[in-house]
């Protein structure tokens, strides 16, 4: 009963988040859910069977177990990168939007500069230079994606700072820092959350692309890496769709779910219309 009510309240968020939660759970519990150890070498190039639901790859690892384990990496990278981007973007956006003046100009200049840089080529370049390392990838993606968050947060802050409660807090004796933490940040949260979800989707896509090009960390298998191996080790030629389709579908599914959640958030964070029946 309660689930039905939640669903009706906001079907988008409900569907999207259920999907995401299921996938996350599957990924988290992969060590227990996976029928085999994804690193164990068994017989290679097997077709799907009862023993191996999605067959095995070129070095004999069970693909299904691989899929589950890779979920952890892909989701993890997406999440951490989005976190870095959101944190940086929020700080920049709030400080620039609230303080204004020279600080605003400088910060926005920096934001615009980074915004202009094409993301994927930059990530590819630096990845190739720094070498494959999961932490690097996370930080890199995060540091490249924060500008769009900063812009959005800043414009929200610009309108928030005119609010009655901000003026009222000042009349109570509050300083800038108090107002930013206590009033601006909580009210910017809906926008931030919506953007976070989108950024996570975007980050996952970038990570997948980078890994697909072979610049990923071989020690940490992600869905993108699976795709890389599938294509570079002859999975495509051998028409082993059970190898190259699942990771791609998984990525698409997660991004789809995240977008649903984002749409749901956007609906909620619209300014609520005052109820006409108040009288």
């Amino acid at each position: 009963m309660k689930l039905a009510k939640l669903f009706r309240r906001n079907p988008l968020i409900f569907c999207g988040s259920t999907l995401i939660i299921l996938i996350i759970l599957a990924a988290l519990f992969s060590p227990w859910l996976a029928p085999h150890d994804p690193w164990q070498y068994q017989q290679a190039f097997l077709e799907p069977s009862r023993e191996h639901w999605l067959g095995t790859n070129d070095v004999g690892q069970d693909i299904f177990s691989e899929l589950l384990a890779a979920g952890r990496v892909s989701l993890g990278v997406g999440f951490v990168a989005a976190l870095v981007a959101a944190a940086t973007g929020a700080v920049v956006g709030i400080v620039a939007g609230f303080r204004r003046g020279v600080l605003d100009e400088v910060l926005m200049g920096a934001t615009d500069t980074v915004l202009v840089i094409p993301v994927l080529p930059l990530v590819v370049l630096i990845s190739a230079y720094l070498g494959p390392n999961l932490i690097n990838v996370c930080l890199l993606i995060g540091l490249v994606m924060w500008p769009s968050i900063a812009r959005i947060i800043r414009s929200r802050v610009l309108s928030l700072r005119q609010s009655g409660y901000v003026e009222s807090a000042r009349a109570l004796g509050a300083g800038d820092r108090w107002i930013m933490l206590h009033h601006i940040l909580p009210n910017a949260m809906p926008v931030l959350l919506a953007k976070f979800v989108l950024t996570m989707a975007g980050a996952m896509l970038i990570e997948a692309s980078v890994s697909f090009l072979g610049l990923g960390d071989p020690g940490a298998k992600s869905w993108g890496m699976m795709l890389y191996y599938a294509f570079s080790r002859g999975g495509f030629i051998r028409e082993m769709w059970w190898w190259y389709l699942p990771p791609g579908l998984a990525i698409a599914l997660v991004i789809f779910a995240l977008n649903l959640v984002n749409l749901g958030f956007e609906e909620k964070s619209d300014p609520r219309l005052k109820r006409v029946l108040e009288g």
Binding site: S163, G164, Y165, E167, S168, A169, R170, A171, L172, G173, A174, G175, W178, H182, H183, P186, N187, M189, E278
Partner: protein, 317 residues
């Protein structure tokens, strides 16, 4: 306790660069040479309609706007000379309850957090002490404790007004300036709030400045009344005498005893305010008994009888 002298605050509406060639910038003299005193423990009413500058006056007293001229002296100290630390202390002793109380309550906070905020800003009390203070404030405004867990959107209009007032009371201020406390409220709720003010003033010697256009409220509460028009005070009189002995044409108009030229024409003209360029009496253009002298010399506030000041050339001294 509070002394305001020759206070001035103007706003300039800038046109864009193209329009500027044809029209001068509009200068709005929101507060134009206002002087008055508020004594401790008294209720000082400021009567005036929107556009008279009363809201700007309230905000300037709190230094939310910087005055262009003049001085505000609170308990002997000049407000415009305060350091940021001292200003914070000032804002603890003098509170402003805004006109649109609803927008002053952060919709993402629960009522408890909203009431706690002033205490946290000034670092007062331990957690238990704060709870006690908050509950006391709620009692004073007659709101039940159960509302503490609610968000502003879950409260009625009257409850939100009272919540804003409770927040002002939490710091035990000495002076509260309240801007349009009863506008938009139903008569019973409005009466409660006005009665609340009276009670607070009597029981705790809270000094109040009530800014409103509701003359019933002014009549009910004020010990002394100042009437504002066009950024100036046009009459200053004892509360008891307000209804019977007010003399200024604008005051009489507000009370319904006289007409004003503005109303007769019926069409609104938003540029009117900037046209009275400081030459004559600020009310002359709309005054029904204006004489030619009124357009040439601006009258000063002069005493007509003890405790009664009028700024009108036609009032006998």
């Amino acid at each position: 306790m509070l002394e305001v002298r020759e206070l001035r605050k103007t706003f300039t509406l800038r046109h864009n660069i193209f329009a500027r060639l044809g029209h001068p910038d509009h200068v709005i003299r929101a507060v134009d040479g206002v002087s008055f005193e508020v004594n401790k423990g008294e209720i000082f009413g400021i009567a005036g309609k929107s556009g008279s500058g009363k809201t700007t006056l309230g905000k300037t007293i709190l230094r939310l706007f910087e005055p262009d001229n003049g001085s505000i002296v609170y308990k002997g100290r000049d407000i415009s000379r305060l350091s940021p630390e001292e200003l914070k202390g000032y804002r603890r002793q003098v509170q402003l309850v805004f006109q649109d109380a609803d927008s002053t309550l952060d919709p993402r906070h629960k009522l408890y957090s909203i009431l706690e905020e002033p205490l946290l800003i000034h670092g007062l009390g331990t957690r238990i002490e704060r709870q006690v203070i908050i509950r006391c404030a709620l009692e004073q405004v007659n709101l039940p404790y159960s509302l503490l867990e609610r968000h502003p959107s879950e409260l009625s209009g009257g409850q939100r007004r009272r919540a804003a007032l409770a927040r002002a009371l939490v710091l035990s201020p000495e002076l509260i300036i309240t801007d349009e406390p009863t506008t938009g409220l139903d008569p019973v709720v409005a009466a409660q709030i006005l009665s609340l003010f009276l009670r607070l003033n009597r029981e705790t010697r809270l000094t109040l400045v009530v800014i409103t256009h509701d003359l019933a409220a002014i009549n009910y509460l004020s010990h002394r009344v100042a009437v504002m028009y066009g950024g100036k005070i046009v009459e200053l009189v004892d509360g008891e005498l307000f209804e019977s002995s007010a003399v200024h044409p604008y005051t009489r108009f507000l009370q319904g005893f006289a007409v004003s030229n503005n109303v007769v024409s019926g069409y609104t003209d938003i540029h009117r305010l900037s046209e009275t360029a400081g030459q004559g009496c600020v009310y002359a253009a709309a005054c029904s008994v204006a004489r030619p002298e009124c357009f040439e010399a601006a009258p000063r506030l002069r005493q007509t009888e003890p405790g009664h000041l009028v700024a009108c050339l036609l009032a006998r001294g």
